[in-house]
């Protein structure tokens, strides 16, 4: 996963309509902090950078580089778990 990757949720994975929960085959992943918001932005077109920019605009006094690292770390973990697909 890179900043210019365009990830999206894998087939059969979707956000619960109201709760901070990702519904996946045979289970759920609890989403903490801004994770739900991050995942809701992934559509296979937006890049990871786009998501970071949106978060930086929304939250004041945050370090863009730090946020970028946090987002990449989250997305990499979810990719390893098989619930994200990554485009170029």
């Amino acid at each position: 996963m890179e900043l210019n990757s365009t990830p999206r949720l894998a087939p059969g994975c979707r956000l619960h309509p109201t709760d901070s929960v990702l519904l996946i085959p045979e289970g759920t992943l609890n989403l903490t902090g801004p994770s739900r918001e991050i995942l809701s932005m992934l559509d296979g077109k937006r890049t990871v950078s786009d998501v970071v920019t949106a978060l930086v605009q929304q939250y004041e006094d945050v370090d863009e580089k730090e946020i970028g690292e946090d987002v990449l770390s989250l997305l990499n973990r979810l990719q390893q778990r098989g619930v994200l697909r990554v485009g170029a």
Binding site: A10, H16, E26, T28, Q80, G82
Partner: protein, 361 residues
């Protein structure tokens, strides 16, 4: 004497297992369905299931598992899937693929199917068909490339036992070539018809030990590509499994005729009375049904289990297994090394002379 605190009350349930029919074109040697199956005439209607799914979603259930039997035997399957999705549930279907066409699949996906599970019985066609009791292997293989064209999650289940565990590496390779999103390697659990064939299917301790590094290597190799989950047979453990996440804590199963059960095989336990979704709503059943309350908490437990801190983890193990092996549904699960009947398991772990399969009609 100090004893551990009482077991916490159940959170809202998670999984609704809808056995929409017991009709099935397969006759697997390890079938987990009850020995006495519900007839087609007794099956719930589309309207019944739609009401049940709505009630389940309102109670906080998240996942709906459509299973059977073969769910494709129901002509109203797309309506059932749509009803589950409209209620707000995540819809999974467990199928043999027998009876599936691309047209039907497209209809199921359009109705909202999100995850499909297909099991394989062995690597070679003849052997796989022998275990399934019908010619299903080629049909399953042919279905996979079609499935892969549709936007849904796809799991392959490898059902393992004594007859196929020695070629687990090749079995995993077969699954890998089919590119599922998930791969489950699940040992047969000895209930229902599988218990009848236990002497035929139960692997030896050596087989199980040889299989462990193979599974671990597959998990490592496939990380990030295929999510691998393995269910080991509790017959080889020292502590029992938290069967169905604890009795009446996470799961409810509705059989084809509408009876609500706390687990697949609860009917084997004498004196169980199951309430029916035709007469009660799901919330009443979850809270008040005697079947669901029977093994909640720790009042029913032996003093050994009551005093054991593991009761918070395994909730006393499997009640059906305790009954089937000892004749007492309140007994310590014999898988537990603290059970006075634990030697029963030791006897089962050694290899048996060749025995013949018993087929389900």
């Amino acid at each position: 004497m100090t004893s551990p605190a009482a077991i916490s009350t159940p959170r809202s349930p998670l999984s609704l297992i809808a056995e929409v029919t017991h009709r099935c074109p397969l006759h697997c040697l390890y079938c987990s369905n009850p020995l006495e199956m519900q007839r087609a005439e007794a099956e719930l209607t589309t309207e019944d299931w739609t009401r049940v799914f709505k009630q389940a979603a309102e109670m906080g259930f998240l996942h709906l598992h459509l299973t059977g039997g073969e769910p494709l035997a129901r002509r109203d399957l797309p309506e059932l899937i749509r009803a589950g999705r409209e209620a707000g549930l995540y819809v999974n279907m467990i199928t043999s693929g027998v009876g599936m066409t691309e047209e039907r699949l497209a209809g199921l996906v359009e109705a909202g199917l999100e995850h499909l599970q297909l099991s394989f019985q062995d690597i070679e066609e003849a052997s796989a068909n022998h275990i399934a009791g019908t010619r299903a292997h080629a049909i399953k293989l042919a279905l996979v490339p079609v499935l892969k064209r549709y936007p849904l999650a796809f799991t392959i289940n490898l059902v393992v036992h004594r007859m196929n565990l020695d070629h687990l590496e090749e079995f995993i390779a077969l699954a890998e070539d089919l590119h599922p999103d998930r791969l489950e390697i699940a040992h047969v659990q000895y209930y229902g018809w599988a218990l009848k064939n236990r002497a035929l299917l139960m692997p030896t301790e050596e087989q199980v030990e040889r299989s462990i590094p193979i599974v671990e290597a597959a998990k490592e190799r496939l990380r990030g590509k295929i999510h691998v989950e393995a269910v080991f047979p509790d017959y080889f453990g020292s502590f029992p499994k938290a069967c169905v996440g604890g009795w009446g804590r996470q799961m409810m199963l509705i059989d084809p005729a509408g009876q609500a059960l706390p687990c697949h095989s609860a009917a084997v336990i004498p004196g169980m009375v199951f309430d029916n979704v035709r007469e009660h709503d799901l919330e009443w059943i979850w809270k008040c049904s005697s079947a669901f309350n029977r093994f909640r908490g720790d009042d029913w437990m032996s003093p050994t289990c009551q005093a054991c801190p593991r009761k918070e983890k395994d909730f006393g193990g499997c009640r059906c297994q305790a009954f089937l092996m000892t004749g007492d549904p309140n007994a310590i699960d014999p898988v537990c090394s603290l059970s006075p009947d634990h030697d029963l398991l030791k006897d089962l772990r050694v290899s048996k002379p060749e025995v013949l399969p018993i087929w389900r009609g």
